[in-house]
Symmetry: C2
Subunit: 380 residues, 2 copies
């Protein structure tokens, strides 16, 4: 008997309240019953996005919402700047290229945040850049990019298109206040849902661009989608059960209070970083760590794939691995979504035991104790 | 957002496999479909009881099965010896008295096991004792009684009636091998089910007594029940969903293997005891601790009710309290049922944090570290 602990940055654990909401009897989507739930959920999303704009709900994963941003904003051959500091920066580049844009990449060392002054220089060198595509939180490297500062640079200039997949609902990303033009996210992270919903919000400047944009789109035509969603329905068949779940998860987040949700993510991340330090392990992104997940560099010579296999198969603990050049060298422990203080303590105690099992000297309880000190702050 | 951890000795956590089995569409109980599931589950119970006898399934809690034992075995005014070392020993006494038996009590200090030689003396002093009623594991004091030794004393004499509620499925209680005449348990402990099913097995000697017994019984008439259950049905309406769940939980236990189930309970209990020792806390039952739950004596002067309230309300951790004279002085951490290594580590880290919060000096991670050392044994 091995209990399972899902501690990877998406899919994240789905709370019982959400599971039960999704289990309710199927209803037809062209009904007042669905429309009411759908409209309430859409309204609830605005607080997470920090916007007065519409947040559209798509039956797709987060990548679908990223593609929708590209195909609705640009025209063939237009130039965009992609901030590429990890697998999801790479994804912006792939989408841009697939749609025939001229993609200028700003490559950033994995685990580092992009420097605003470098972005500024690029924008000056290439004044014809129509859009800047970036991650708020680069999940693959557990790094935050300075979106707020970059928004200062794009104001009145190129559109700032932000992948907020492990940021929206994790930390404040106030779209309107910062001046983000387009913000997207997915369901399986902070929203505590299974994968299957994408979300996207555009400000007025971006909506104006959708009329001029000439890239082909049909399923992700946001003009059509907005027209329908303002009438409390969808252009195509919505993912009905996931929308029920979304309604329930937003209710949970509202009940907890967004400020407390953000503080919880930050506290869990700080506790995990403190535990890593107590165990003598380095962070992948020590300067700009994301509160969504913590990347920990494994001891020199340790086989990270073996460690993760052991954790998953023998201990029931699922962490995320490193990708590409980081494969086998790091682990990523998630804090995003339905994760509490004891999930962090399970993660750290499991890591201690697995490291020891694989031959690394560990003083049991040392990482846990360091995490406990910080987690105490969440108690009153 | 406070995640809930149910770590009291019953009800215990119900695994997803069991929840899903219980959620299946309701069927009628007088059907071949129900009979098949019911018969397979009844067969599976024999290994847990260590018996070739029938194990009957009752729609009742464990106390119903205890009452069934008394009302089916004895006649008004007959003398029984009750081993009373806690709240459940007391319950045998209350049932015996309610049914008009002459109950001789052998009171045992809470947290101690009864001494076989004292039982032996009682049986010599009162040769007309018809039954000895005892707990295998006294849940209220987290103590094991020496049932095997006592079975040696009752062999061929009075009937030995054993409440196995936190013993069957937790540790070996081989009814036939030891010579237990009647063994009962309930669903919400090792069987990982919600409350609502009682189980009882009688050996041939006990079945013979049911024919002579003159106490009134109707719902719990075991002769009628056996007649029906041998025909794969029940005398009265069975708890259909719980029987589906039972079938699933027995399958899980068979898959894990009973030896491993027992070893797991023992290991989790040892880890918890080691953690208590590392934290300088005393055990309630240091000599004969039950692997079902560990009773820990709180530091002098600490308000145990406040501690448990704090753990439950602020941390989401449900331990069991002490009862009667132990109220506020101890906590009980359960290991019975669907509980794994990380549940112990959650329990200990939460206890460390709550003790500190209430003013007791604690070196964070010390108890956790001691538990980790032992829990490593369960990994390969």
């Amino acid at each position: 008997m091995i209990k399972q602990y899902l501690l990877a940055p998406g899919p994240t654990p789905v709370p019982d309240e959400v599971v039960r909401a999704m289990a309710q009897t199927m209803i037809h989507h062209r009904t007042p019953q669905f429309s009411e739930v759908f409209a309430e959920a859409r309204e609830g999303l605005k607080a997470l996005f920090g916007t007065k704009n519409d947040v559209l709900v798509l039956a797709s994963s987060g990548t679908g919402a990223m593609e929708a941003a590209v195909s609705n904003l640009f025209s063939p051959g237009e130039k965009v700047l992609v901030i590429n500091g990890g697998k999801f920066g790479e994804r912006w580049q792939q989408i841009g290229q697939a749609f025939g844009l001229q993609v200028t990449q700003l490559k950033v060392e994995w685990g580092k945040a992009v420097k605003p002054e470098v972005v500024e220089k690029h924008l000056k060198v290439y004044p014809d850049i129509q859009g800047v595509l970036i991650q708020a939180s680069e999940t693959s490297t557990t790094t935050l990019h300075p979106v707020q500062e970059i928004a200062e640079l794009t104001r009145g200039g190129p559109l700032l298109v932000v992948d907020g997949v492990t940021a929206v609902g994790v930390l404040p990303v106030p779209m309107d206040e910062w001046g983000i033009d387009v913000l997207v996210t997915g369901s399986q992270k902070a929203l505590m849902l299974p994968p299957g919903l994408g979300f996207i919000a555009l400000n007025e400047r971006a909506w104006a661009r959708t009329e001029k944009a000439k890239l082909p789109r049909f399923y992700f035509d946001l003009r059509l989608e907005r027209k329908n969603q303002l009438k409390k329905t969808t252009a195509f068949t919505p993912a009905v059960s996931l929308v029920f779940g979304l309604h329930a998860s937003l209710e949970m987040m509202q009940k907890e209070g967004l400020e407390r949700v953000y503080a919880r993510h930050e506290r869990l991340a700080r506790a995990t970083r403190a535990a890593a330090a107590a165990l003598g392990l380095k962070l992948l992104a020590p300067e700009n760590p994301s509160p969504a997940a913590t990347g920990i560099v494994l001891p020199e010579g340790m086989d990270g794939e073996k460690l993760l296999d052991y954790l998953r198969e023998r201990m029931g603990i699922t962490f995320a691995e490193g990708q590409d050049q980081l494969k086998g060298k790091i682990i990523r422990i998630a804090h995003v979504g339905y994760i509490g203080a004891f999930d962090v303590l399970v993660a750290i105690s499991a890591l201690e035991m697995a490291l020891k099992k694989l031959g690394h000297p560990v003083a049991f309880g040392r990482g846990v104790g360091a995490a406990q000190e910080i987690l105490m702050e969440g108690l009153d």
